[in-house]
């Protein structure tokens, strides 16, 4: 047994941190709050593609690096720390979905996605006031070699730069993922606006046509692929939340050491230091749960939901607590636009309710426990 990052993983982590440090600046996130969704420059994205990040956890047979899912989560966490947009999580997630599918077309699409030829996003959530792919009601009808999709998807990530979407639909009473091109007839993309300035859209689908080749991996185990994909995506967003938690704690901890009031660093007052200790506990527990979720996904992908929900529920709360503590303990300066505290808070709050909030995930666990 071994429940730690391997030396290889630690080396990758260092390299990723270094890349972000050199190439990314959180001011881009601040500016995006006024000027529309945040964009990763083509140059940075190209580097990411070239470093092979997108396929890092894709199986070797499909052209990826075949590393543990944990490695992708680790990258998502590093991204969260520096407020890198979660387009990275989107890219990992669609790569994962495509990797799970058997048909020849998806292999080509996966290659395009990993090599930056096409960017594939995915559309799952609907405006029914609740979470989870189970409540998916967007209907696809199939007649012969093709069919149409009608419905609305919301909270679709990175639609601006997507060439196509994997759309979760109901098809013959079972779930399916169908590929829809961004310029498909009948598809309207409307920008939504999220408090963290990240790209998020709604897709209106009005009799959008598709061919049977566009159905990922047949319809046989599509429900399972969809669910696994959702679990993986949720885990990546949890990793991002862990990064936000870590960064909020680190910023506040540093500030508490240098900020003087009453002739002492404020970190010497227990009102400050004990609250930070609680955040530290939340972070350590959160990291442990994230590792547990990654391991469950890797080894037991069709029964991993309790561990995934545990990580998402805990980290949704932990990131909110850590960023609110950061704001409060920074005092007035923490409440200003200039400091990154509110950027972290915005991302924490956005991701806390993305792909299921804490209450939703605790409900899943409640159902699991009580059988």
């Amino acid at each position: 047994m071994d429940f730690q990052l391997s030396d290889d993983q630690l080396a990758i982590q260092d390299a990723v941190a270094k890349f972000f440090q050199e190439e990314w600046n959180s001011d881009i996130r601040r500016d995006a709050l006024d000027d529309g969704p945040v964009k990763i420059s083509d140059e940075i994205w190209q580097q990411i593609v070239e470093m092979g990040w997108i396929g890092i956890a894709v199986s070797e047979e499909h052209g990826g690096s075949g590393l543990e899912l944990l490695t992708a989560a680790m990258l998502a966490e590093e991204g969260g720390q520096v407020l890198f947009p979660s387009k990275l999580c989107t890219a990992f997630t669609t790569a994962f979905a495509l990797d799970q599918c058997q048909s020849g077309d998806t292999a080509a699409l996966l290659t395009d996605h990993m090599t930056g030829q096409q960017f594939v996003s995915l559309a799952v959530d609907e405006a029914n006031g609740t979470f989870g792919p189970e409540n998916n009601a967007t209907a696809a009808t199939l007649a012969g070699d093709g069919g149409t999709i009608s419905g609305e998807k919301i909270l679709v990530p990175d639609a601006e730069c997507a060439d196509c979407f994997l759309v979760a639909v109901r098809l013959n009473d079972s779930g399916a993922l169908v590929k829809v091109a961004a310029d498909a007839p009948g598809l309207t993309i409307t920008a939504m606006q999220r408090i963290d300035g990240q790209s998020i859209s709604s897709l209106q689908l009005a009799d959008v046509p598709f061919s049977s080749d566009d159905i990922l991996g047949g319809t046989d185990d599509a429900d399972q692929v969809l669910l696994r994909t959702y679990e993986f995506w949720t885990t990546l967003i949890s990793a991002d939340l862990l990064g936000v938690t870590t960064k909020a704690l680190e910023m506040t901890n540093e500030y508490a050491k240098v900020r003087q009031q009453f002739n002492k660093p404020i970190g010497s007052f227990q009102a400050v230091s004990h609250r930070l200790a609680d955040v530290k506990v939340a972070e350590e527990v959160g990291r442990s749960l994230l590792y547990g979720a990654c391991l469950a996904l890797q080894e037991n992908p069709d029964q991993c939901f309790p561990q995934v929900s545990a990580a998402k529920a805990w980290l949704s709360d932990a990131a909110a607590e850590a960023t609110e503590a950061a704001l409060q303990l920074h005092g007035g300066i923490g409440y200003t636009w200039e400091l990154d505290v509110h950027l972290l808070l915005r991302q924490a709050r956005s991701h806390a309710v993305y792909l299921g909030d804490a209450a939703y995930h605790r409900k899943r666990i409640g159902n699991f426990i009580t059988g």
């Binding site: 009031q261 002492k264 409060q328 007035g332 923490g334 409440y335 636009w337 309710v353």
Partner: protein, 398 residues
């Protein structure tokens, strides 16, 4: 013990409500921000509104008549406080002037200062801002560094203030400055009144976490302030400022605001759904709503107790700190709970498709976070309760 109002009180209430009903036109003009000629001029509209309110007897209610006040009874003040808050009239432009500057001046100012400024505060002829906090002096206010040197008939002031609400529209500023660097920190502070149009004052708006700009930084560069604008004694400013900080409001208007928040939250639970069911049927949500109802009820009765003490002529204790700490926690809890109820849509801005209630809940959440910092952080409120109410030894050195 009773909470009944006398017939006379009820007559007073009726008069107020009649007056409010007859003021509809001015209220809507103020809300629209137009002056009496229909031109857009929000500042003038607000000034006009406050003057109207004052002339009807609802500003300066507790003040001595000789300075333009009404010496109204406390029960009348309670009625006015509740009814005005309930009626959602335009907010006052001049909070600092009315709640900080005027009480200080009445208690510590010279007769000339009182004559010169008090009536202008009542009529919103002077808008005031507060120059207390500095980048290095927040919770530890007494460590402030903005420097003033007496040179002939003027103080010459250099330094920087921060978190100055309304700084960009204010006519005047109450200012704490250091006049003696060698004395212990609380014994070298002087209380001044600064004209915001003085040469050498630069105002820079500060944007807040929610994206709004209510605060400012104010820079002082060789600003001259006449000696007669000193309140109290030279180096005696700390005690004056401290008495002002203690002079907090009863908090009943805060209760009315919380009641309005609660009502909106209840409406939200009727329109939103949790896990596919109406939120109002969700057991956890019902439990939370009940808890907020209890806490608002508690805060209201706490306010009545404080007021009753004042009615009997007792000085309000540090119950104001209890109320502030409790109210800011409650406000934050309600704001966070609203986000839980809004669920998948909780992180959308007011401009987004699918946003609920035009983004009220996210905006309210950001606002709620400010309540634990502004006007004394929750940590400082804890200290105040521990030290002044429980009489525990100080946890911070002076």
């Amino acid at each position: 013990m009773d909470l009944k109002f006398s017939e006379q009180d009820e007559a007073y209430r009726k008069k107020l409500l009649d007056w409010l009903a007859s003021s509809g036109e001015l209220i809507s003009r103020t809300m629209q921000g137009t002056d009496d000629s229909g031109e857009r001029n929000p500042m003038q509209a607000m000034r006009d509104w406050q003057k109207h309110l004052y002339e009807a007897g609802y500003v300066g209610m507790s003040w001595p008549k000789i300075y333009g006040g009404y010496e109204a009874s406390l029960t009348e003040q309670v009625i006015a406080n509740e009814e005005l808050a309930r009626a959602k009239i335009p907010p006052s432009l001049n909070t600092v002037g009315l709640t900080i500057v005027a009480p200080t001046m009445i208690q510590h100012g010279s007769e000339e200062q009182k004559q010169k400024y008090l009536k202008r505060i009542l009529r919103a002829e002077d808008i005031w801002c507060q120059g207390f906090s500095e980048p290095g002096a927040g919770s530890d206010l007494a460590s402030l560094k903005t420097n003033a040197v007496l040179d002939g008939d003027n103080f010459v002031v250099n330094g920087q203030k921060v978190w100055t609400s309304a700084g960009h529209i204010a006519d005047m500023c109450v200012l704490l400055v250091r006049t003696n660097r060698d004395a212990p920190k609380r014994e070298g502070i002087t209380y001044l009144l600064a004209d915001m149009k003085s040469e050498g004052i630069t105002i820079r708006p500060l944007r807040n976490a929610g994206g709004g700009s209510h605060f400012n930084e104010v820079f002082f560069d060789d600003v001259k302030i006449p000696k007669e604008n000193m309140v109290g004694e030279l180096h005696g400013g700390w005690a004056i400022a401290r008495s002002t900080l203690d002079n907090e409001r009863s908090g009943l208007s805060g209760v009315v605001a919380l009641e309005a928040n609660f009502k909106r939250l209840l409406q939200l639970t009727e329109s939103a759904s949790i896990g596919g069911e109406p939120a109002i049927e969700d057991a956890h949500t019902r439990d939370q709503l009940a808890q907020y109802w209890i806490e608002i009820e508690g805060l209201k009765y706490l306010g009545y107790r404080t007021l009753s003490e004042q009615l009997k002529g007792q000085k309000p204790g540090s119950q104001a700190s209890v109320g502030k700490l409790f109210a800011s926690k409650l406000r934050q809890a309600m704001a966070k709970n609203a986000l839980e109820i809004v669920g998948p849509y909780a992180a959308l801005t007011k401009k987004s498709p699918h946003v609920m209630d035009r983004g009220r809940w996210v905006a309210g959440y950001f606002d709620s976070l400010g309540y634990g910092i502004g006007g004394g952080t929750s940590e400082i409120m804890h200290n105040v309760i521990a030290e002044r109410v429980l009489e525990l030894p100080r946890s911070v050195e002076d």
